[in-house]
């Protein structure tokens, strides 16, 4: 919003401050000045007013603020009015049908005006505020809006229906489908939730938002009906938002104007019109205000202010003076420890003690509050579950040190891309930025593969990326009405709408299955978790069916690892993996119990076994590890060589295993070892058809 410093100076006794100094005072008072511009001999401040301060959307509002900040006073003049002729009541009758939506509606009639361009001073004022001058009547209504914050509207009186010589104005809900051509030339189709001003025949204005075209003030207008009203904010906002129509009027009404400032603004505009466009103001204002909105009385406890702000206790006298400049008056004596104030109706944001505390702190200045840290450090009672964060951080650190770069992608993506990764029950957005951002991701791969392609286009030849992020698995069957939720320290999201899972996925290009498997194995070692890599048994159509593995944590699927399916063409030479961190978190970071170091030497036996080429190394290790006779002394078994070729029959392969044996109680003897190893060979032969290589 634009504010003219010249106009400000006519409304408040300001000390001799430069525009920059004034701007700084306003900014530190919470009315942020975003820009300062010269306009002819004036200076214009551009302010960003927060939505809680409709009172500051005018020159008088800003003047009041400055008076309070600079310890000075406003010089507002009460509008005077010269009435002439018959009473408005002989000509206009108002009936407010929608009483809740329109608590107050008032108007005046000015007859015999001369429509002309505005005089220079008004012309210049409007231009300086970024407004387009139209004619002397419309310009006055616009100017009074910027002066006082009260939106006004002028109708051409002679365009209104006048059966029996009287105008019957109705403030009512629109009927569904009712049409109104608004000032901007657009025909609007209305709903029952919209409020209109209507004459006997038709709607003539969209209340609080925009006037109608037919009743617009034109060059031939002679008599005008001037409207000033207070509309209930929510209704105006609904209509303005639905029609995408934000006007200076609707902007103020939807934030809350002053119901008790309606007549002053009306009189001010009427007399200004009379002054510059001539004409006679009919006697009386029509004013329908059945239920007067009274100022609120609110208590403030000075000790509460001190406690809450960290400021030393403020003298009541000081508070009273500060508040008075804002128009907040002292209201008698309240309880022994509290002061009582009457809050004017132009401050709808002040409804409670906390709002007065804020006003006091704002006026005294946030810079007066000391900086300290006095809150208790100890955390008694319940502790929160932070294991997921710890795991996520551990994994990110590990992978980044193993050559992976962390990527961060949008959580929404294209449904077609997501469906390549076996998406079901995709949650979609009702108002996405575009089709390609319309579905909540169920997989991290579309993002990672896009990143891979992007980098390959930049001639990168080798790349490893990972991303840790939430994926969305459809609606949460346990989701509840939030008000019914029973949240606990271990489940703060019991009532969540969606099933949100934290996954970590990675891609490595060009892929090296065993290099990636090795990194994951080390990662699991670092977490002290043991997992099993097994041939793909869960249907994952985007993976190479025979060069991929499911990773199992006990009996639960923890994730997978492997080459992408050849359908992916260029990216198919990439290896990928994904892990479910929600599952992993409950199995890692178990407390460590140290085992005593072995006191007796161990024995190593190497076996070279010839087996059918379909036999898996894992099967051999499985047989060895589960062989009962050897179990008491088996420490470890490792594959150290796989060979196919000369000396080995086609269709067979040789697998070499080292077996590490140790007795914790005594030194193993050859005799103790030979017999069980012999029967192991037998077992391997029976179970897997393995024979010793000769």
């Amino acid at each position: 919003m634009h504010i003219s410093i010249q106009t400000l100076r006519s409304l408040v006794d300001l000390p001799d401050l430069s525009p920059q100094e004034l701007a700084d005072k306003l900014t530190l008072g919470g009315l942020e000045v975003e820009a300062i511009q010269a306009f002819e001999d004036d200076t214009i401040l551009e302010l960003k007013i927060t939505p809680n301060r409709p009172d500051a959307l005018s020159h008088m509002g800003i003047a009041r603020e400055l008076a309070a900040i600079c310890h000075t006073r406003t010089t507002f003049l009460a509008p005077s009015i010269k009435e002439l002729g018959g009473s408005i009541h002989d000509l206009v009758q108002i009936s407010v049908v929608s009483k809740e939506a329109c608590p107050r509606y008032a108007c005046r009639v000015v007859e015999g005006v001369q429509i002309a361009p505005s005089p220079d001073w008004l012309h210049k004022k409007l231009l300086s505020l970024g407004l387009k001058p139209i004619n002397n009547i419309v310009d006055v209504t616009n100017w009074v809006l910027f002066e006082r914050g009260q939106p006004l509207h002028a109708f051409d009186l002679d365009t209104l229906a006048k059966p029996k010589g009287r105008i019957a104005l109705k403030i009512r809900s629109a009927s569904a489908g009712e049409k109104l051509l608004t000032l901007d030339g657009k025909e609007r189709s209305l709903l029952e939730t919209d409020l209109v001003i209507a004459d006997e025949d038709k709607a003539i204005a969209l209340a609080g938002v925009m006037g109608g075209k037919i009743t617009e003030v034109s060059n031939s207008t002679q008599n005008i009906l001037l409207e000033s009203a207070y509309f209930e904010p929510r209704g105006i906002r609904k209509t303005a938002k639905r029609l995408g129509l934000s006007t200076d009027a609707s902007y103020r009404f939807e934030r809350g104007t002053d119901p008790n400032g309606v007549i002053a603004a009306l009189d001010r505009a009427a007399s200004l019109i009379q002054e510059i466009a001539g004409g006679r103001i009919r006697r009386d204002a029509a004013d329908v205000y059945p239920k007067v909105i009274e100022p609120l009385e609110i208590s403030l406890r000075p000790h509460r202010l001190a406690q809450f702000s960290g400021l030393p206790e403020v003298e009541p006298a000081e508070l009273r003076t500060r508040f008075l400049a804002l128009g907040i008056e002292t209201s008698g004596r309240a309880a022994h420890d509290a002061l009582k104030f009457r809050v004017p109706t132009f401050r709808p944001d002040i409804t409670d003690e906390i709002d007065l505390i804020e006003e006091a702190m704002r006026l005294i200045g946030f810079d007066q509050v000391p900086a300290r840290i006095g809150f208790r450090k100890s955390l008694d009672g319940k502790s929160l579950d932070v294991s997921l964060d710890k795991l996520e951080r551990h994994m990110k650190t590990f992978l980044s040190q193993a050559g992976f770069f962390e990527a961060i992608n949008y959580s929404f993506g294209s449904p077609t891309e997501l469906e390549l990764f076996k998406a079901t029950d995709l949650l979609t957005l009702q108002n996405p930025l575009g089709e390609e951002y319309s579905a909540m991701r169920q997989s991290l791969f579309p993002g990672l593969l896009n990143n891979l392609r992007h980098n390959l286009r930049q001639q990168v030849q080798k790349l490893s990326l990972f991303e840790a992020g939430v994926v969305f698995w459809g609606k949460n069957p346990a989701g509840q009405k939030p008000e019914m939720a029973n949240l606990t320290a271990h489940n703060m999201a019991a009532d969540a709408y969606a099933q949100e899972k934290l996954f970590l996925a990675g891609v490595s290009y060009p892929g090296d299955f065993f290099a990636l498997k090795g990194i994951l194995e080390s990662l699991f070692d670092s977490l002290k978790v043991s997992v099993d890599f097994k041939p793909l048994s869960l249907q994952l159509s985007f993976l190479h069916p025979s060069q991929s593995a499911n990773i199992w944590l006990q009996d639960a699927p923890l994730g997978f690892l492997g080459f992408l399916h050849p359908d992916f063409k260029e990216e198919a030479s990439a290896c990928v993996f994904a892990l479910d961190l929600d599952l992993l978190k409950s199995h890692c970071f178990k407390p460590i119990q140290v085992k005593p170091l072995p006191k007796f030497p161990g024995i190593q036996r190497d076996l070279a076994l010839v087996v059918d080429e379909k036999v898996l190394a894992g099967d051999i290790l499985g047989v060895i590890r589960n062989f009962k006779t050897l179990k008491p002394i088996l420490e470890d078994a490792k594959i150290f060589d796989v060979y196919q070729g000369k000396g080995i029959e086609p269709g067979k392969k040789s697998i070499a295993v080292s077996i590490y044996l140790r007795d914790l109680e005594k030194t193993l003897t050859e005799e103790q070892v030979n017999l069980p190893v012999e029967s192991l060979k037998q077992e391997l032969n029976t179970k897997l058809g393995a024979v010793l290589r000769v």
């Binding site: 939505p51 702190m361 840290i373 809150f375 955390l379 050559g403 770069f405 961060i408 992608n409």
Partner: protein, 336 residues
């Protein structure tokens, strides 16, 4: 005669010996079972006693000398191996064999640093859903339907009254409802979403929410926490300035400026000559928010801080286009 010749032969052999293999061959050739000296000694039985004594003495002297020469040669050869190794040099300017090194994303790095500073102050890290009920994202935070404050945040909808959270503040409500106890100190790092996209706005970005509730927590505590945070994160000399502002769920609310770390407040391009850089928003938790979460607002008070992680990272690393964070270009990520 034989011995004299052998002595000469041996002497020149040792003096010309160049390797430990040659030395060993020499030793075996002389002193081995079938060595030349051993052969001579074996034949001594055939000599006259007087002759035998003379040759015996001579042979023993030669044997002792040979042993000395072996030792001498060993020392000489050892010296030359060591010298040889010492003589070999490496071009230490050739590149090393580096294990591949990646990096944690700059946004994550920034967030972790902030969480660590907060962690030292006793704030525990929590998380909440990204698809959130209107209740937590708006209503419990004092933003009823049709409130103009909703306009400050353009919202993505998943279903009626179900949104992509526009802020991490709903986690405040969840933490308070879940714990129902004070002191409560939590921090939440996470993704948030707004219907907005250009060089300075991303439809998805990250926030860190900080919440501290206890008896007698005051605005001064908030100011202290912010000062400490700015000093640890940006500069030891950092000062903070709080300007009154408006967020529906805090009162009073403030925008926080930090003295510019580029010029220490003197004015430079970074701070557009103002000396200050806006870094975050904060305030005292509104009593009605405490009430919704079931916390007695007469006995307790607290502050909340919400900061944009992208903004912090852009300031720290001099990044001017927010989209760089989500392109995941290795030439960018590789710099962290």
């Amino acid at each position: 005669m034989q011995l004299k010749r052998l002595r000469k032969e041996a002497q020149s052999g040792f003096s010309q010996c160049k390797s430990s293999e040659q030395l060993e061959a020499l030793r075996v050739g002389l002193l081995g079972k079938k060595g030349k000296l051993s052969e001579i000694l074996k034949q001594m039985g055939t000599l006259e006693p007087e002759e035998r004594k003379k040759v015996g003495q001579e042979a023993n002297a030669l044997k002792q000398d040979i042993e000395a020469w072996i030792e001498e040669s060993r020392v000489r050869l050892g010296q030359s191996t060591k010298n040889k190794i010492l003589g070999q040099s490496l071009d230490i300017t050739l590149p090393g064999k580096k294990p591949a090194l990646g990096a944690i994303h700059p946004l994550t790095q920034t967030a972790y640093e902030i969480l660590d500073i907060l962690g030292d102050m006793g704030f525990e890290s929590v998380r909440g859903p990204e698809i959130e009920h209107d209740f937590y994202n708006f209503e419990a935070l004092n933003i009823p339907p049709e409130h103009p404050a909703r306009e400050m945040q353009d919202t993505f909808y998943v279903a009626p009254e179900v949104v992509l959270r526009t802020q991490t503040s709903p986690v405040q409500i969840r933490a308070m409802m879940a714990l129902q106890e004070v002191p409560l100190r939590v921090a939440c790092f996470g993704k948030v979403y707004r219907h907005d996209q250009d060089a300075t706005h991303s439809p998805m970005f990250h926030q860190i929410e900080v919440l501290c509730i206890d008896q007698d927590v005051s605005f001064a505590d908030l100011k202290g926490t912010l000062t400490l945070l700015a000093r640890k994160l940006f500069s030891e000399k950092a000062r903070v300035r709080l300007r009154p502002s408006f967020f529906p769920f805090t009162e009073p609310s403030a925008e926080v400026d930090m003295s510019c770390f580029g010029c220490d407040g003197a004015g430079c391009r970074l701070c557009k000559n103002t000396g200050w850089i806006e870094i975050l928003g904060c305030g005292m938790v509104h009593p009605s928010v405490l009430k919704v979460a079931g916390i007695d607002s007469e006995k307790n008070s607290g502050f909340a801080i919400g900061m944009g992680v992208e903004r912090m990272a852009m300031l720290r690393y001099g990044v001017s286009d927010i989209r760089l964070f989500f392109e995941n270009d290795i030439r960018f990520l590789g710099q962290f």
